[in-house]
């Protein structure tokens, strides 16, 4: 009330300078501010969920690609087996297949390093029956015929076995699909909660404006004029809230991305990168944030329109139709 009185005393001077007309729907009140905060929080949470789903989907896709890019030929030592000759034979056989980019033998030093965590340093491979490996790098777009390669290896290289990581890849694909499905379900719930919260918060904020609708109705304003005035006001409110929430989510994404880049060579960074890649949500993620913000804004405007229409219908005494 004090604020209104202060405005009133200041008005004559301002009027002399011919000010723009006061908006019919008051620019801001407590309910309006609360609505902006609610919309901002729900948009922020929805965008975070969307970002997390995008991250998991991209990471799982990256894991699958990494694994399907390689296959391994394992040669088990035998009594009369010439290991070096078998390795060269396996390498030559694999390299001859279409769809194989390269085949390289894991030498004794590299094999020793691989076993170091379990068997310690100073390992002499000649004293132990340690299998040896040939790493086959594959063109993921046109992979070689693994069945033929497996058959030929069994026939021509004694003790050789081909592991194309199919079992592991299949499990990973299943796990990734489950993770993404759970993420999408959570996103769906989050968006449903956002829709309901925005609808009820908008209706709550509209309740305080019933007297304005009533006065406009009594001075002969057309329904579309009243709806337009309120829709414009609440679209702006929705846009403010959604922008704040969306920008806050983008700041979080960018913050994580910067943190992961700054910690590239550290154990924490490597661990995070192994799980989530480089923490970038990419174009899809940012487009998703924009889509969520736009949806929330439109939803606020649509709810306002429906609420005004229902209020006017009540005022017009349509119950007697």
């Amino acid at each position: 009330m004090t604020e209104i009185a202060e405005r009133a005393t200041a008005l004559p001077a301002r009027a002399a300078a011919r000010r723009a007309p006061t908006p019919i729907v008051p620019a801001q009140n407590v309910a309006g501010t609360a609505l902006i905060v609610v919309i901002a929080i729900m948009t922020f949470l929805s965008c975070l969920t969307l970002g997390a789903v995008t991250l998991v989907r991209d990471s799982s896709s990256a894991w699958q690609t990494e694994i399907s890019r390689e296959a391994t030929i394992q040669i088990k030592p035998g009594d009369d087996l010439d290991m070096d000759a078998s390795l060269v034979a396996a390498q030559g056989l694999a390299a001859g297949f279409a769809g194989v980019r390269s085949a390289s033998i894991v030498d004794e030093d590299a094999t020793a390093r691989l076993l170091e965590p379990w068997l310690g340093t100073g390992l002499d491979l000649d004293e132990l029956p340690v299998p040896r490996l040939v790493i086959v790098t594959i063109d993921p777009n046109s992979p070689p015929d693994f069945a033929t390669m497996r058959t030929l290896l069994a026939e021509q290289v004694p003790g050789a076995a081909l592991d194309d990581h199919r079992t592991w890849a299949d499990r990973l694909v299943a796990m990734a699909r489950t993770t993404v499905a759970i993420g999408l379900a959570i996103l769906g719930l989050m968006l449903a909660a956002t829709v309901l919260t925005v609808v009820f918060a908008t209706r709550g904020a509209m309740d305080g404006n019933g007297h304005i609708i009533e006065v406009l109705h009594f001075v002969g304003a057309e329904a579309r004029f009243i709806a337009r005035e309120f829709r414009r006001h609440f679209l702006l409110t929705g846009l403010k809230g959604a922008t704040i929430g969306g920008v806050a989510a983008i700041i979080v994404f960018v913050g994580f991305s910067i943190w992961s880049s700054a910690n590239l060579a550290t154990p924490e960074g490597d661990q995070a990168a192994a799980l989530f890649g480089n923490f970038a949500i990419g174009f899809t993620g940012y487009a998703g944030v924009a889509l969520v913000a736009a949806t929330v804004t439109i939803l606020t405007g649509a709810t306002t329109h429906v609420t005004v229409a229902a209020y006017l219908s009540e005022l017009d005494g349509r119950q007697h139709d």
């Binding site: 009185a5 009133a8 301002r14 009533e214 009594f218 329904a223 017009d316 007697h320 139709d321």
Partner: protein, 219 residues
Amino acid sequence: MIQFENVGLRYGMGTEVLRDVSFQVPPRSFQFLTGPSGAGKTTLLRLLFMSLKPTRGLISVFGKDRARISPRELPLMRRRIGVVFQDFRLLDHLTTYENVALPLRVRGRDEASYRQDVIELLKWVGLGERMHVLPPVLSGGEKQRAAIARALIEQPDVLLADEPTGNVDPPLARRLLRLFMELNRLGTAVIIATHDLTLMDQVDARRMVLTGGRLDIYD
């Protein structure tokens, strides 16, 4: 201009609030609508303003059957009827000038086209010095005059006033009544809903008395 024939109205499944109400509001006429509290005065005013539809009977407004007026036509018809409420119904965030100009603003008219008319009307109702003040700092009488000015700005054919003197002292009530009579002389039909006998005794006008939902007319 407005005609009611055997009009009845009930809310939901309740008893009838108005029963067999029949009357006419001729052009340029002046009448009081009176009766005890709860007799149905406000309901009758709402029917006159087309905010309610009757449960039975016929209402004709400006020659049109109320039942055949479409929702799109309603606002256009309402612009020919001015309404003054007991509780003023001014918008607190708009100045007196903006409140009075509101009916013209909602029609999309340019402010320059009506500014002078609004200022003149505000001066006529004695609010020339208060036009840029917000309603919360106006007195009860000033608010009522602002509400009357808002109802008159479009020069309506009919003015409906619901207890217009209910919140003001007797001298101001007399002043407001003179305002309504002056308006009536200029050609507007006036219907004042009141239970203020002193006010009615000051004018020799038709009295429509509502009792238990039934209407008696004393010319």
